[in-house]
């Protein structure tokens, strides 16, 4: 029996080959990847490849650019410039141009969904007002760690979230929910993480405003550490939200009514001279003013989603679908819904100060 097994092993060597085998030294490990559309409809890619030869400066990379009829074709054409094939499994950032986001998003993402090497755990950005290649170039020049940059933006500004491509694709495939994607731009040679771009049926429509991006992330439980203020000048109070939870549900009595409940826990981080907190009544009053501000902002945002954007980025349709609500099957179901918002703000920390001045 042994000789037959040996014969088979020889057959493996003769008839089959491990064609996928690649040595680490043959790989061009990609850190960031940008895709643009050329005027003649071709894909132009730019990739930051980790420069393994520069050991002292591990953050620097080499930029390769090429053009092709498809993303894969363009990636393969890199071999004409570099002896190594692009390896996307360790990619951190994917930037796609607005043109692609508006028209060819489905085609481009298909390449990444099919790729068996990567886990699609990288972050997707829309190039807001710039070409992807320009942004890729600035990221490389400024040696920006995009993951840390995005995490800081998500944590302290709330206008971006940490949904990776895998989670974005999952959302796109879900019934009754549209996706919002982070955007990025370059201004004065500085990279900026901008407001989120909203989509409908795989197509980017426009960008949310800064406040709307934050509200979107709060309502979808993607961020919980942001700053908000009420009043102005001498009546200003600033709240640093440290924890927020929102829940969207269908009203038990009325099946066309959506209840949004937001629980916010925060610290008072700044007050102007007219804001005096000497008793629980003062604190409750401030809490109420924050609650009414959040309520009115959310209502305004929801009305805009319903009437202006006409895209279900909050996933209300998904909720209706999951609960087998027949309203979901109707056309323009968003317009037929009434939305009620209830917010509870709890200021747990006033900075340890009893203001007496």
């Amino acid at each position: 029996m042994r000789k037959y097994v040996i014969a088979l092993l020889i057959a493996v060597l003769i008839f089959g080959r491990l064609d996928s085998i690649r040595e680490l030294t043959d790989l061009a490990v990609v850190k960031a990847f940008g895709i643009d559309l050329t005027e003649d409809g071709k894909y132009h890619i730019s990739a930051i490849v980790i420069d393994t030869s520069d050991k002292e400066n591990s953050e620097s990379g080499i930029i390769y650019e090429s053009t092709g009829d498809s993303v894969h074709d363009a990636a393969r054409n890199i071999v004409g410039i570099s002896p190594k094939k692009l390896y996307l499994a360790h990619m951190e950032t994917l930037i796609i141009s607005e043109e692609i986001a508006k028209d060819k998003m489905e085609n481009v993402l298909d390449f990444f969904i099919r790729d068996n090497e990567g886990s699609n755990a990288f972050y997707l950005f829309i190039a807001n007002g710039n070409k992807s290649s320009e942004i890729i170039d600035t990221i490389n020049q400024e040696k920006i760690d995009m993951v840390s940059f995005l995490k800081a933006s998500e944590k302290y500004r709330g206008n971006a979230n940490l949904k990776n491509l895998n989670e974005i694709i999952k959302t796109i495939f879900k019934e009754g929910i549209e996706v919002c994607v982070n955007s990025i731009s370059v201004k004065d040679d500085k990279v900026l993480i901008n407001n989120m771009a909203y989509f409908k049926d795989w197509q980017m429509k426009d960008y949310l405003s800064q406040e709307e991006s934050v509200l979107y992330n709060v309502l979808t439980n993607e961020v919980n550490n942001i700053i908000m203020s009420v009043g102005s000048e001498d009546n200003l109070a600033v709240l640093e939200i440290v924890d927020s939870k929102s829940k969207i549900s269908i009203d038990k009595q009325q099946n066309n009514k959506i209840n949004i409940k937001i629980d916010v826990n925060g610290n008072l981080s700044e007050t102007s001279k007219n804001i005096q907190i000497k008793s629980t009544n003062d604190l409750e009053e401030i809490q109420k003013s924050f609650e009414s501000k959040i309520n009115s902002d959310v209502i305004e945002f929801c009305n805009k989603i319903k009437n202006e954007y006409n895209t279900d980025i909050l996933g209300i349709g998904n909720l209706l679908y999951r609960k087998k609500n027949t309203l979901y099957t109707e056309e323009n179901y968003l317009q037929k819904l009434s939305i009620d918002v209830e917010t509870n703000v709890n200021i747990s920390n006033q900075g340890g100060i009893n203001k007496k001045w």
């Binding site: 088979l8 092993l9 886990s119 999951r322 609960k323």
Partner: protein, 367 residues
């Protein structure tokens, strides 16, 4: 100290045969068919199917415990006349051969898609044949022990999968509950039961008479069958909870795609290729038993020792001709596997069961 004999078979090992064969029938095959039928309601199909399988266990357990012969093939020769036993064994041979072809192509396709995309499927087939041909030259107790090791590894891997995937569970993915039409759900349940029947058939590769710890063997086996169904339920529900209703149907190997999101305390990530090895181990175990059956059915002649080699060549040729690639494979399998299992395994097993009952009844009357 007296050394244990190497040819001993224990009841736990028999349970392990069911476990690994059962799990092998699902990766990219049973689960893919079921997910496409019942989507996120597949876990309900698994629950109902499990209950039905517990009932069907009675038939297989009866044959297993009342069989005084070496295995199912020898039993057929004993209880039926020569001609009928020959026909029945040929039907079983065809069914086992077809299932072997399906499993070989499925696991080769899996390795091709997810591991080495630039290599050919045929290359993987040969790689799988090598250990199978080798192990077929060993005795049944050795094969069963090897399977036992693989079954234990599988359970450990599933437990690790569960820990690493738990943070990715989204229980909203179970909604909407019972959104699948009843015929599709019934079809899904039927598929689950049929794949279970193939696994049940594998335990008849031996009989109670060859097992060392015969006492309470039925209850021990039943416990292992319940355990196997729990493991399968965990795999199915974990895949649903990670991927969700809409994402689950687009991938050829959804369990593997779910594993891509494995993260153990944010330290151990991207280990799906190692964790998915148990899919290969289970398929290997099932294939060794299918080969064993086929070898036993073929005539006991001079070239007997070449049978594993010849069967492998036949499988290689048939799979190369019939299954061109993944999509055609799935279409063919989805349409025909019901008939293969029903006509090729369930009907012969029922005939054996009824015949044994009849003989038993006669013996009781004579007593």
């Amino acid at each position: 100290m007296v050394e244990k004999e190497s040819n001993e078979i224990y009841s736990f090992s028999i349970g392990c045969i069911f476990l690994s064969s059962f799990l092998a029938m699902f990766l990219g095959l049973g689960s893919y068919i079921m997910f496409n039928l019942s989507k996120n309601d597949t876990y309900i199909a698994v629950l109902v199917g499990s209950v039905l399988l517990f009932g069907i266990f009675y038939i297989f357990n009866y044959i297993f415990t009342h069989n005084e012969e070496e295995n199912l093939i020898a039993l057929n020769k004993k209880i039926f006349n020569k001609k009928f036993a020959f026909i029945l064994n040929i039907i079983l041979f065809i069914a086992f051969f077809v299932i072997s072809c399906i499993i070989i192509f499925n696991i080769s396709n899996f390795l091709n898609i997810e591991y080495l995309a630039d290599s050919t499927v045929n290359f993987f087939k040969v790689l799988i044949f090598i250990p199978i041909i080798y192990i077929c030259s060993k005795s049944l107790p050795v094969i069963i022990k090897a399977n036992q090791i693989f079954a234990i590894i599988s359970v450990i891997f599933v437990a690790i999968d569960l820990i690493g995937l738990y943070p990715k569970f989204d229980f909203i993915n179970l909604e909407p509950v019972l959104n699948t039409s009843i015929p599709k759900l019934m079809h899904s349940i039927l598929m689950y039961v049929l794949f279970g029947i193939v696994a049940f058939c594998m335990i008849l590769v031996t009989s109670r008479s060859r097992v060392k710890d015969k006492d309470n063997i039925s209850s021990k086996l039943f416990k292992m069958i319940v355990f196997s169904n729990i493991i399968q339920f965990i795999i199915i529900i974990a895949t649903i909870l990670v991927l969700g209703e809409d994402f689950i149907g687009i991938f050829r190997f959804p369990e593997y795609i779910a594993l891509k999101q494995f993260s153990l305390f944010n330290i151990l990530e991207r280990v799906e290729n190692i964790l998915a090895l148990h899919f290969y181990f289970n398929s290997f175990s099932l294939l060794t038993f299918l080969y064993y059956y086929m070898i036993k059915i073929l005539p006991n002649i001079k070239i007997k020792k070449y049978y594993p080699f010849l069967i492998s060549i036949a499988i290689y040729i048939v799979t190369s001709i019939v299954f061109k690639e993944g999509i055609s494979f799935y279409e063919i399998v989805n349409k025909n596997i019901i008939y293969v299992i029903l006509a090729g395994i369930l009907v012969p097993i029922l005939l054996v069961f009824l015949r044994m009952k009849k003989i038993d009844k006669k013996l009781k009357i004579n007593d």
